[in-house]
Subunit: 345 residues, 2 copies
Amino acid sequence: MLDFNDNSHRRHNILTGDWVLVSPHRTKRPWQGKEEEVIIEERPSYDPSCYLCPGNERAGGHKNEEYKEPWSFTNDFAALKRDVPEEKFKSGLLKAEAESGTCKVVCFSPDHSLTLPVMDVAEIDKVIALWQREFRELGAKKDINHVQIFENKGAIMGCSNPHPHGQIWAQRTIPLEVTKKCKQLTEYWNNNKVSLLSDYLKQELQAKERIIVETEYFVALVPYWAVWPYEVMIIPRNQHRTILSLTEEERKDYAKIIKAVTIKYDNLFKISFPYSSGIHQAPTDGRDWDSWHFHMLFYPPLLRSATVKKFMVGYEMFATPQRDITAEMAAETLRNLPDVHYSKT
Amino acid sequence: MLDFNDNSHRRHNILTGDWVLVSPHRTKRPWQGKEEEVIIEERPSYDPSCYLCPGNERAGGHKNEEYKEPWSFTNDFAALKRDVPEEKFKSGLLKAEAESGTCKVVCFSPDHSLTLPVMDVAEIDKVIALWQREFRELGAKKDINHVQIFENKGAIMGCSNPHPHGQIWAQRTIPLEVTKKCKQLTEYWNNNKVSLLSDYLKQELQAKERIIVETEYFVALVPYWAVWPYEVMIIPRNQHRTILSLTEEERKDYAKIIKAVTIKYDNLFKISFPYSSGIHQAPTDGRDWDSWHFHMLFYPPLLRSATVKKFMVGYEMFATPQRDITAEMAAETLRNLPDVHYSKT
Ligand SMILES: O=P(O)(O)O[C@H]1O[C@H](CO)[C@@H](O)[C@H](O)[C@H]1O
Ligand SMILES: O=P(O)(O)O[C@H]1O[C@H](CO)[C@@H](O)[C@H](O)[C@H]1O
């Protein structure tokens, strides 16, 4: 019989319809390639040269507010701009469309030295409250049909500033990854009249193999079809289409599980663990989206140590994503890590 | 009207059906993030510690042949293995399948110091001949339905050894990227009875804007829907489903254009330019694939300089690929670079 710990196999991603190649025996491969730098820095609470610290001046010439709580502003070098007229271009086989939108920067804290895992739950709760505010306001605009909240953490993830912050890119069209999920979620909803992720969560809670942390209202697990070595998904137990319908109690619990997951991450290699995280939610195009069930994903690149990452290159770019350790191995490792941040022990 | 040089817009990839977000105004953004190391090394023609040099011992304990010409062997730490019995697994929402295949390493030259742009056309021609041999042999196996030829070049692309080499991963199932292309190519073929890429090439040759190099039988261009900053596609003028039907003259010409493109690349920042390249061809599943038209793609990560790359992170992972310079800007830059390698002038 198929031995998941030894035989290469493909796993199906129920949310996108895609497949991932799993090659568990490949961890035996010696690594002679690139090693990343580990930057262990003591950061001050305020850095006069940081363009995200309160009161400082940014590259664009604007001055930051003297903010005391999570604070957001429009990106000075936004990839998306408002008021690009809706226009389609077609010439033979070439097809393009104007895209309109907004890019915002969300400072998680005025304190330059912090990161999510070392922030208080109450502080993270305020970050989520700001995400909610932004999601509501941006999503309400007639020409914004999708709002992507995300964080790039660590230089290895293209993050150009260690000040704790994330981003929001909101736009007219619904992006590729979300389009795939809309399709899969709707199909399941139509056939079963229950959310795909509710049923998936039920199955994972029975199997227990891939669960990392559980709180009252949320579960964090390594999805069966994880692509990144220590990929994690946070799913609310109740089917919320977006973060807007969370009760205050649930929101605080969401903050709790974000802290718990990111503490596990930092404890894995005893460094500030790099990742990109993102929240996938129902589009804001005014349709009903009964089928949606929001969830948060963490895509961390590190594989073997603080310095050896998984490269998604040749084969992965031209063929299919590939991973070396199974989701079950990754989940077990993360589950068994301490719940207290290594810097506090 | 939509100004491609100033307005953010989406472009359609006719080969995959996906879209890319283009934000040309974003190049004005100052870069304060991670800078890559530039490793400028004089490499010897033979390195006793290299596991790919002729006669040397590899990590697995095997000894390399004393090869004088391009040479291939089975990867000692293959992600895919033969003779995994065809088996499907399903439990509730979890779905997996055994995957079977082979991974080979293709040494381009016995000379440790070389790279494709500094190899002779005749030597590159021999590499292509080896690709043909491998593609024929692997593709003929009953349980191999797809053969992916690719190269990861440079440490930044996860390449663990600078010895000039590429890889071939051959497997039972048809990978994601190729499945998308099969669909798009077939649809166009059924509607138009001509290859999608032949028609696309015709249009590009008229527009001239995105062409980089032309040879007798091949054209290299930056595709309209390019994702990577200096992405390049090499298309044969004649519709070949795979590299197997190339005449000897065409094969030599293919070698010529690979050399020309990679010389341009090295000349861009005057370094050995990192990239992943891959050849997309018709599957080897025994079906006819009249619609296929093989092509080679180069995905290089560098954006602004030898040290600043484009990060495909947060937004790109959760939403849609995004690029900063337009395909036309990239093509113009590459087109205007000298045709002689910078090390020879
Ligand atoms: O096989 P290599 O060169 O050791 O490994 C490299 O290429 C593979 C195929 O693209 C990737 O899966 C690995 O992540 C990368 O490090
Ligand atoms: O906006 P930043 O942080 O300067 O830029 C970073 O995140 C963006 C959104 O994921 C990416 O497009 C950039 O490549 C990356 O460097």
